[in-house]
Each structure stands twice: as structure tokens, then as C-alpha cells.
């Protein structure tokens, strides 16, 4: 009973992983073959736009707009709402006839100088680079799903504690610890290149790079687990044939 529950649970996980391999792989293919890639496929149907609209959209990057132009949007929005004072006044007038309510979620103020910059006439190397830094994480993720799928398949066959599984765990660890920061860095470098070679240079800077540390930490943990797993696999090999 317990073994069959475990087996059906693993079968479910295996099915889920297979779906994830297919979906992330298809998304990567959509990027490569879509409007911003090779352009061999027509634009995706409208019903998919919510999830993959960037695939067919004009290349764009988040930027920080310099000077007065940068804060103009926030200032204009604050002028409409009246800023903090205005939202408090509006809130008191519309929602709290007694005027006893204090500041809450209805109190708001626009700030910041961020915007998105679209590039309408990229050169081929720029276009390819812009797509490549978006496809690379998808390909990495597809590889991770595939490695997980292969591990679960082996575990279901009773071959979980092997050196091959240890290598697969190490592979996922490396993809997370090195691949994620590297693609984030490359994405920022490409964004900087595009912004600096566009008409917006001198007005906008690429959005600051945000290197997430959790993939590095998770990747390091997996590398340590892989080392231990390899040791355990060797010990299991030694035990096989022990009487």
C-alpha cells in the first residue's frame, strides 16, 4: 500500500516534470522562431499574449530616465491624485464621512523615474543578443526540468543512488549557482549596449542590475548534496556483493 502510494506519487511528479520540460522548451522555441528571433513563425495567437507577449513584442528594456524628464510622470500622476495630501483628503471625503480615518492603503504617492524603452531599429547582432539573453535562462530551466525528470525516472526504476544521479544534481547546482547570475549579468550588459547605442543615450540608463543571491545559495547547497550523493553511491557500490 505504502509502496504503491510512493510509486504513484513519483509517477505524478514524473508527469509534471515532463509537462514542464515540454512547456519551457516550447517557450524557448517560440523565442527562437518568433518575431524577435528567426521570424519563421507568425505572431503567436492572441490568447497566448498574456503569458508570452514579450516573445512577439518590440524589444524593450527597463530604464532609469535621468533629470526632470524622469520624474515628470510621477509628478504628473501626483498632480492628478494630489500626492499624499490629496489622497488623504479624497479618502476622507469619499470613504470616511466622519473624517476619523487615519492613513491607510488608500494613501499613495507616485515616485521614481523608471520607464521602459522600446527599440524599433536594432541591428542584427543587437537583436540576436537581446533574444539570446532571454532564451538562455529558458534553455537552462528546460535542462533543469529534464535532469530532474531523468533522476525521478531512475529513482522509479530503483537506481536512485548512483554516480550519474550525483552528476545530475551537481549539474543543476552549477546551472543555478553560475548560470543564473551569469545570465542576469549578460542581460544587463546587453541592455546597457542597446540603451547606449540608441537615441535615448544621455537621457536614460539601463535599470540597475539586480543579482539575486538565492540561486547561488541554492546551487551551492545542491553541489554539496551532489558531493555527498556521490560518496553515498560509491559506498553503495562497495556494499553490493557484501555478504
Amino acid at each position: 500500500m505504502r509502496a504503491s502510494t510512493r510509486s504513484s506519487g513519483l509517477a505524478l511528479v514524473q508527469s509534471f516534470l515532463a509537462v514542464m520540460v515540454a512547456s519551457t522548451g516550447l517557450l524557448a522555441v517560440a523565442w527562437i522562431t518568433g518575431y524577435n528571433g528567426l521570424g519563421v513563425l507568425p505572431a503567436l495567437p492572441h490568447r497566448l499574449e498574456l503569458s508570452v507577449q514579450e516573445v512577439d513584442a518590440v524589444p524593450s528594456e527597463p530604464v532609469v530616465v535621468q533629470g526632470r524628464a524622469g520624474v515628470a510622470t510621477a509628478a504628473a500622476a501626483n498632480a492628478i491624485t494630489g500626492g499624499v495630501h490629496g489622497t488623504l483628503t479624497n479618502r476622507d471625503a469619499s470613504h470616511d464621512p466622519n473624517g476619523s480615518a487615519g492613513p491607510g492603503s488608500g494613501t499613495s504617492e507616485f515616485y521614481g523615474n523608471q520607464a521602459f524603452l522600446s527599440f524599433w531599429a536594432l541591428s542584427t547582432p543587437q537583436h540576436v543578443s537581446w533574444v539570446a539573453v532571454r532564451v538562455a535562462p529558458l534553455l537552462g530551466l528546460t535542462l533543469i526540468w529534464w535532469l530532474l525528470l531523468a533522476m525521478v525516472r531512475n529513482i522509479r526504476r530503483g537506481h536512485g543512488f548512483t554516480a550519474r544521479t550525483a552528476r545530475r544534481i551537481a549539474g543543476i547546482g552549477l546551472l543555478l549557482a553560475l548560470g543564473m547570475p551569469l545570465t542576469q549579468l549578460l542581460r544587463w550588459i546587453v541592455a546597457r549596449w542597446l540603451v547606449e547605442s540608441s537615441t535615448a543615450t544621455g537621457i536614460a540608463d539601463p535599470a540597475p542590475i539586480s543579482l539575486a543571491l538565492w540561486p547561488v545559495a541554492a546551487g551551492m547547497v545542491l553541489l554539496v548534496v551532489a558531493l555527498s550523493w556521490g560518496e553515498a553511491a560509491r559506498m553503495r557500490d562497495d556494499l553490493q556483493g557484501l555478504v
Partner: protein, 80 residues
């Protein structure tokens, strides 16, 4: 690096079969006396074992009333 790390062939031969025949004892009987499964004793008897616990060796020698050298010997040529 130990020999097991390199996968080096050993030259130990188990002569349990001969000892059992001399004693007129079956593998099943030995299994009952020693407390080791028939499958594992069969692995040992057919020279497919890679290692043996001292406790198993002691139990086998006690059950068969023999010494370690009666159960194992070193072959002249390396095993293939």
C-alpha cells in the same frame, strides 16, 4: 587508492561448496544455522561476493566447524 577503487580483480576463491559437500550439509541448512539468506550464501559460494563481514565468516566457520583457510584460498592466476 585502494584496489576496490580501481576495480582491480582479486584472486580469492571461495571453497564453501567443497566444505559443504564434505560435511554433507545443504546451503539451506547452513543458512538456517548462520542466519544469512540463501541468496547471499549463494553469491558467496559462486564467487560473486566482493566482500564478507567478519561476523558472517565467524558464523560460517563455527557452523561448519572449520577454519577460514578451509573456506577460502588464493588462486594463482588473477580472476578474469
Amino acid at each position: 587508492m585502494s584496489p576496490s577503487d580501481t576495480g582491480e580483480a582479486h584472486r580469492v576463491v571461495c571453497t564453501l561448496d567443497e566444505v559443504l559437500r564434505d560435511r554433507g550439509m545443504t546451503l539451506t541448512e547452513l543458512s538456517d544455522r548462520v542466519g544469512v539468506t540463501i541468496a547471499n550464501l549463494s553469491i558467496l559460494k559462486n564467487n560473486r561476493a566482493k566482500a564478507i563481514r567478519f561476523s558472517t565468516l565467524t558464523a560460517i566457520c563455527e557452523a561448519l566447524d572449520c577454519d577460514v583457510v578451509d573456506v577460502f584460498r588464493i588462486r594463482d592466476e588473477p580472476a578474469v
